[in-house]
Amino acid sequence: MSNLFAARSQMAVSLGFHIVFAAVGIAMPLLMVIAEGLWLKSEQEVYLRLAKQWAKGTAILFAVGAVSGTVLSFELGLLWPTFMAYAGPIIGMPFSLEGLAFFLEAIFLGIYMYGWKIVPPAIHWLAGILVLVGGTLSGIFVVTANAWMNTPAGFQWHNAVVSNIRPFAAMTNPAALTQSLHMTIAAFQAVGFGVAGIHAYVLLGDRRNAFHRKAFAISLSVGALMSVIQPVSGDFLAKQVARNQPVKLAAMEGQWETERGAPLRIGGFPDERVEKTRFALEIPKGLSFLAHWDPQAEIVGINAVPRANRPPIAIVHIAFQMMVAAGTGMMLIGLVGAWLYWKTRRLPDARWYLASVVVSAPLGLVAIEAGWTVTEVGRQPWIIYNIMRTADAVTPMPGLVIPFALFTLVYLFLAFTVIVLIRQQVYASSEDGYS
């Protein structure tokens, strides 16, 4: 395994691990705040129990999120020192603001988790809202930094010398808004469906359990709402990619030739040897229309750039299809749920519907992982798009396969432990009667 490949793999494993906990850190506070708010309003005990149970389960996830995030902050330097030496000052603005958001989040998390009996209920609820704001802002700021890697702005680059840095312009780069909006929605959607799936699973065995019915109602509502707006934000994002990173768009779509009236390909496999995408269902002029609102618009193909500047096409294309498929699936389940509720005015608790929500539970996380694969692998071979190559950014430290193996094992072990502990809690909560 080459050093570069080991470094990329370690980065991918660390980020792929962290993002799960980051999404939870963004979205669980919303669910807890809703439950606690309903308790404050209705004074029904069950909502308070729910908020507390969710908080208890989330405590583990928050801690793992914090430590894996710390690892990442150092890894940026440990693995990509040359990248950081140039990019650090330029994207420092969002990183320093992220630091403030972490404070907000961690401080009020302490008050939220340990302050149930210490601060008055209204203040406690407010602390929850501030955790939510802090978590969401941390996500937005760090994605902004990532967006800058995709659409670098706010500096001049000449012969490996950076000049004229404008941190604010770097932060408001063309991809910042579209990416952070899409990611924020993704977090709420993935966690909404994930949590709804867990509670639906318990309801399948104990349909009248009041505790789990409330939990299911709140989490599914959040997930379903997000699943409907997410394709819109995805479209917004795709148009931005079409403008600023045409090669990435071509890779996502398996579009080899530059052409007008390009078709939208669903599924299929891009064959890099013959430079064709096979077995795809093609919708004529669909891609041109979706990317530019114009069925005759020109779409740049992968062939427009030399091989040395192309990302791995198949991975990007397949990951993109996975994300869109998962998103479509969740949207359908969300819409069916809304329709059932609208027709019957009660919780959609038919067995088949609960089962479908259980099945959809992991889809949001799948879409998040797939979406990040599109973004990051699709940017290759660049670490800063069209400016710096990933291969030029890697550390000279030899033997990177060792830390890669080490962190992979540690993360597997942590993932296993977290799953075991969360399972214990779900079972404990369903044994507590309350039917």
């Binding site: 440990l78 030496a85 420092g92 401080i107 840095i165 033997g399 540690v410």
Partner: protein
Amino acid sequence: MTPALLVAAAIWGSLVIYALTGGADFGGGVWDLFAHGPRAKDQRRLIANALGPIWEANHVWFILALVLLFIAFPFAFAAISISLHIPITLMLLGIVFRGAAFVFRSQETSSVRMQRGWGYAFSVASTITPVLLGIIVGAIASGSIVSKPKDWPLWNFISPWLAFFPVALGFFTLALFAFLAAVYLTVEARTVDLRNDFRIRALISGVMVGLFAWVCFILGKNGAPLIHGNLSHESWSVPFHLLTGIVALLALICLWVRRFKAARVLAIVQAILIFIGWGLAQYPFIAAPTFTISASAAPISVLEPLLKVILLGIVLVAPTFGFLFYIFKRH
């Protein structure tokens, strides 16, 4: 004060606060490892309750220092990250296990054995991590960070930190964090017995701090010549050592006569003085001998907005961080 110096001061400040808060959290883990006697369980519970609500917020100070370093002194950050890859990686593993095991222990309900296992992981990681942190700081202070390390031989990635001075500084850091934790816990303990337990621990670790300070100073003559020179030959050197020594002694005396609140204040002052000494001795370098504060700083167009964010941070974080401590530490 130039903008670069102001940012360097902010990095220094976050490290001081981190040592006083997050450092003491590690120290708590050390005393969890050494909990024994009839009240071992109570000692552990006291430590866990002291850490619970605050450790994640305390930890952010460390991240802040790192982020400020890579924004304002990017090439120094890159060089440090390359030369000290190994100890930083080991420290990260320590941080991961400390944090994860701490919450796993509190949430594990299935078996007492598992719970004990997590407790052990937590306390061992809490003990090893400060040593590594000290080694990293020691390696930076010793002046062995070069701007373009060669990738061969492998020794280039070991020699900067596996030396007497950095390792001694590692143990000094461990002693300091353990001392701070023990002193805080004397104030937070609710029973006389527990208070006595931590009084003994504070006295022992306080003496260790002094001992390791001397060891570091002596080893620094060869191991960190620049810092050693500044700490022994400047006009402020002698008065500074006297002051730190007196405060340290007073802290121990207060512990002896059971004036715990006063001891806590003095221990904090002592730690701050140690950091002031380090800061003064390290000036004007971020990482000697290559990276000075002025020459390795990012351009002014980066530093100025950064200082504004720092100012905003002080306005926002100071009161909320204080509020957190007020809620959980007022009794």
